[in-house]
Amino acid sequence: MWNYEKRLQFPVKITQTNPKIAQVIISQYGGPDGELAASMRYLAQRYTMPYNTVAGLLTDIGTEELAHFEMICAIVYQLTRNLTPEEIEKSGFDKYYVDHTLALWPQAAGGIPFNACEFQSKGDVITDLTEDLAAEQKARTTYDNILRLVKDPEVCEPIRFLRAREIVHFQRFGEANREDCSKSEHTTKRQIWNNYYQVHSPVIVHLYIWGIAFQAVLIYNTVLETTLLFCHRVKRFCVRLSIVRS
């Protein structure tokens, strides 16, 4: 279940249209390392994530990525608002325009449509989290490339914000990938024993020592009794053979 908040995560207000850079930025909507792929990747992976905390992280980052492609779409939308046919033709936006007019459609900068193959959902904790770490870095690189191509500060500011978020997500996925992140809730039998032992260790050592002592006494008694019995039998045998007197 989701709720919508009627605002962008970071303000987008672009006063100068520019269909040329819109075609570059749209890659972060429907491209291979775009926000749409990121969101769907995390929200798909969470079902088979065996740790509650990591499934929570995937839900929360996946949700934030929804807000990110909303920002990307807002940037593209505002960069291409109210264009004239001349501008569309001059900027090379005509190839997009002919199929989608000025609507938002998820594609890469090269015109390749969005594809679910852009993300992996593999069902293995290490595999999925390593994929996510790489995905965040690939998105960060794409934002770096966009920032090299775009000079308009009104566009650069939200792009820089999104770039910084990739780094934070990378950090959090790195923490999720650590063994100790979900230790307390994913308790194995060995951990139950370890916890029990830590709490009860003096009692256990006590019982252990007494156990050994008791067993030692038992063994001693058994050995003694067996030896005595053996001696008794030897003596009786000897008596029967009249070797010794009774």
């Binding site: 605002r7 995560q9 006063t15 505002q78 959090r172 307390s184």
Partner: protein, 98 residues
């Protein structure tokens, strides 16, 4: 070319509305950061205390914004004013109040 898609509004109210919306954005950013941090540090009481503090601050600001300008979330919405502002007001991608 100049983007001509923006609707005009009263300069003073618009500036005040933008300021309040930006403040909500800042507080919500802190909440989002704490949210993700707590997902990987679920026993950090100090972070949970901070979350509580900023969550209350955000709710207060959202309530103020809703009363003055219009709804941000459907859980806090004015149903007595005779206008369903959720739908009649601009959507955020239009860039009007940002």
């Amino acid at each position: 070319m100049m983007n001509t898609g923006y609707k005009t509004c009263n300069v003073d109210t618009c500036a005040e509305r933008r300021r309040l919306l930006q403040e909500i954005g800042k507080v919500d950013f802190v909440l989002k950061e704490l949210n993700l941090y707590l997902d990987t540090h679920p026993y950090d009481q100090q972070a949970m205390d901070a979350f509580k503090h900023y969550n209350m601050a955000k709710n207060k600001m959202v309530k103020e914004y809703t009363e003055k300008y219009g709804p941000l979330v459907l859980s806090i919405v004015d149903t007595d004013c005779g206008e369903w502002k959720w739908a009649t007001q601009d959507w955020p991608w239009e860039g009007g109040y940002h």
